[in-house]
C-alpha cells in the first residue's frame, strides 16, 4: 500500500513536470529543473557531498541535524503538552478562569511565531539558557494550544450518566476528575497530541532561525534556501528529512495511543 502510494506520488510529480515542460505551460508557475527537480536527483543529492564540500554526505549531515532538531522538538513537545494538559484541566475546573484566561490562550496563537521566537531567544539567552532549549520553548508555544483546547473539550464532554453514577457514589471533584473525566477525555487529548507532535517539529525548525543555530534542520533550510537556484535538490532533500521527522513524531503518539487508550474498536481513530 505504502509502495503504491509513493509510486503514484512519484508518477504525479514527474508526470506533471514532464507535461508542463514539454507543453511550455507557465500557469500556475513555470516548471523547470529549479522549481521541480527530478525526484531521483533529490534522492541522489542525499548521497553527495553538499556544495560547500565539507564533511559527510548530505544524508548523514541531515540525519545528524534531524536528531538535533528532534531533541528540541521532543523537549518542546513534552513542555508544551504538559503545560497544555495542566492548563486544560485548570480551565475545566473554574468558569472564572475560563472566562478570564481562554481569550488570551486563543490570542497567543494569533501572534506569529516568527515574531515571538527572537524575543524568547534573547530573553532566555540573557538567563544563560542553552540556545537549543530556547528553541524547545518556542516549539512548546505551538504545542500547548491544541492540547489545552482539546483537553478542555474532552473534560467537558463526559457522559451525563457516568457523572450521575459518580454522584451516586458521592465521589468528590478530584475523584471524578481522575477516575472519570480524564480517562474519558483521553481520545480527545490524543488527537490533540497528534497535531501537537507535528507542530512541535515545525516549531523547532522555525525556532532555529532566529537563534542562529546551525546544527538543526532549520539551519540547513536557511542555508540551502540561499543557494536554491544552484542546488534546488538540497532543499528538497532537507524538506524530505524534515517531513520524515514529523511523521516519526506522529507515529510515536499513535503507538502510545494504542497502548494507553482502551476503547471499543469502532471508537479508535
Amino acid at each position: 500500500m505504502l509502495v503504491l502510494v509513493l509510486a503514484v506520488l512519484w508518477g504525479l510529480w514527474e508526470g506533471y513536470r514532464w507535461l508542463w515542460m514539454t507543453a511550455g505551460w507557465s500557469w500556475p508557475f513555470t516548471v523547470d529543473s529549479t522549481s521541480m527537480p527530478h525526484i531521483h536527483d533529490v534522492l541522489r543529492a542525499l548521497f553527495r557531498h553538499p556544495t560547500s564540500g565539507f564533511g559527510d554526505i548530505l544524508l548523514v549531515q541531515l540525519l545528524r541535524a534531524a536528531l538535533f532538531t528532534a531533541k528540541e522538538a521532543a523537549v518542546g513537545f513534552a513542555l508544551g503538552a504538559s503545560f497544555g494538559f495542566v492548563l486544560g484541566i485548570a480551565l475545566s475546573q473554574s468558569k472564572l478562569l475560563r472566562r478570564g484566561l481562554l481569550p488570551y490562550v486563543v490570542a497567543s496563537q494569533t501572534v506569529p511565531i516568527l515574531a515571538v521566537a527572537p524575543i524568547v531567544v534573547v530573553y532566555l539567552g540573557s538567563l544563560k539558557v542553552a540556545a537549543w532549549f530556547s528553541v524547545a520553548v518556542i516549539s512548546s508555544y505551538l504545542t500547548f494550544f491544541p492540547v489545552t483546547i482539546n483537553t478542555l473539550r474532552g473534560l467537558e464532554s463526559t457522559d451525563r450518566r457516568a457523572l450521575d453514577l459518580m454522584r451516586s457514589y458521592a465521589a468528590g471533584r478530584t475523584m471524578v476528575l481522575w477516575k472519570l473525566r480524564i480517562p474519558a477525555a483521553l481520545p480527545y487529548i490524543f488527537s490533540a497530541l497528534k497535531v501537537a507532535a507535528t507542530a512541535s517539529v515545525v516549531g523547532a525548525i522555525i525556532g532555529e532561525a532566529p537563534s542562529s543555530i546551525q546544527d538543526g534542520l532549520g539551519g540547513y533550510i536557511v542555508n540551502f534556501n540561499q543557494y536554491y537556484t544552484l542546488n534546488p535538490e538540497n532543499l528538497w532533500a532537507t524538506n524530505l528529512i524534515a517531513a520524515l521527522l514529523g511523521i516519526a513524531f506522529f507515529l510515536v503518539i499513535v503507538l502510545a495511543e494504542t497502548i494507553i487508550v482502551r476503547r471499543a474498536p469502532e471508537h479508535v481513530a
Partner: protein, 267 residues
C-alpha cells in the same frame, strides 16, 4: 423503620411543568417495588429523586431515616441505569471495583469482593474482558454487580432491561430475583413492562401522568421463590390484568386531563 419513606413529594420543572405531585410511598426492608406507568408519568424522575440525583420541589424522602442527600453521602445507593454505563477503559473487574476504590477499600479486599460479585452474576472468567467485548445482557450484569459490590442499603434500577431483547430480559429477570434473594437488598425498579413488574415485585406502584402521581399500589402475592413457571400460573395473569386495568384507568383520566392541558414531558 422503612428503608424508603416518601411524604408529600412533588417536583416541578423550570417552566412550571408538574412532573410529580403528592407522592406518598413507604418501602420496607427486602421489598422489591416496581414503579410502572406510561412515558411521562415521572417514574424515572421519582427514582432519581429517591437517589438524590435531582432535588424535589416539595415534600421529603427519608432513606433509613436519613435525608436522601445524607444517604447518598453514606453510599446507601446502588444504581443501575437503562444503559450499563460501564467505563470503556476499565476491565470488567475494575468496573465492578470502582465504587470500592472510591470507598478506599484496599486492593486485597477489592479483589475478593470482585470475585464474589462475578460469581453472583455468573461472569466468573470475564474479569479481564473490556465492556465492549461483552453482549448487552452481560454488560448489564456487570452493571448490577458494580451496584451491589459495596452492599448498598437500596438498589435503584431505572429500566435496566429496557434495551434488551425479550429472551435475554426474561433470563435476567430470573437472575435478578436470585441476586435479590442472595444479597438481601431492597430494590426500587422502574419499568414499563407489566409482565416484568408483576413477575419481579412484591408490590407494584402504578403511576399516571400529568401530573405524575401514584394512582394505585398493587401487592403481588405470587409465592417466592418465583421461577419460569410462575409466568404461566393463573394468578400471574390475574395480577397482570389487574395492573393493566389500573394503568388504563390512569390513562383514561389522563386523556381527559390532556384535553385541557397540553404538556409533554420525557421521563
Amino acid at each position: 423503620m422503612s428503608v424508603v419513606e416518601i411524604t408529600g413529594l412533588g417536583k416541578t420543572f423550570g417552566a412550571g411543568t408538574t412532573a410529580l405531585q403528592g407522592i406518598e410511598l413507604a418501602i420496607e426492608e427486602r421489598e422489591f417495588v416496581s414503579l410502572i406507568g406510561p412515558s411521562g408519568c415521572g417514574k424515572s424522575t421519582l427514582l432519581r429523586i429517591i437517589g438524590d440525583l435531582i432535588a424535589p420541589s416539595a415534600g421529603k424522602v427519608l432513606v433509613n431515616g436519613k435525608t436522601a442527600t445524607q444517604a447518598r453521602v453514606d453510599r446507601d445507593y446502588g444504581i443501575v441505569f437503562q444503559d450499563p454505563v460501564l467505563y470503556d477503559w476499565r476491565t470488567v473487574a475494575r468496573n465492578i471495583s470502582l465504587p470500592l476504590e472510591l470507598s478506599r477499600w484496599n486492593r486485597r479486599r477489592r479483589a475478593e469482593r470482585v470475585g464474589e460479585m462475578l460469581e453472583l452474576v455468573e461472569l466468573t472468567g470475564f474479569e479481564s474482558h473490556y465492556p465492549w467485548q461483552l453482549s448487552g445482557g452481560m454488560q448489564q450484569r456487570v452493571s448490577i454487580a458494580r451496584a451491589l459490590s459495596f452492599d448498598p442499603a437500596l438498589l435503584l434500577m431505572d429500566e435496566p432491561f429496557g434495551a434488551l431483547d425479550e429472551m435475554t430480559r426474561e433470563r435476567l429477570n430470573l437472575e435478578l430475583l436470585r441476586i435479590w434473594e442472595a444479597s438481601g437488598s431492597t430494590i426500587v425498579f422502574v419499568t414499563h413492562s407489566i409482565a416484568e413488574a408483576v413477575f419481579l415485585s412484591t408490590r407494584v406502584a402504578v403511576m399516571s401522568p400529568r401530573p405524575g402521581r401514584i394512582s394505585n399500589v398493587i401487592p403481588i402475592d405470587l409465592p417466592q421463590p418465583r421461577t419460569a413457571a410462575t409466568r404461566e400460573e393463573p394468578r400471574f395473569f390475574e395480577l397482570v390484568t389487574q395492573v393493566r386495568e389500573a394503568l388504563h384507568l390512569g390513562s383514561d383520566l389522563d386523556r381527559q386531563l390532556a384535553e385541557s392541558t397540553r404538556a409533554e414531558r420525557p421521563t
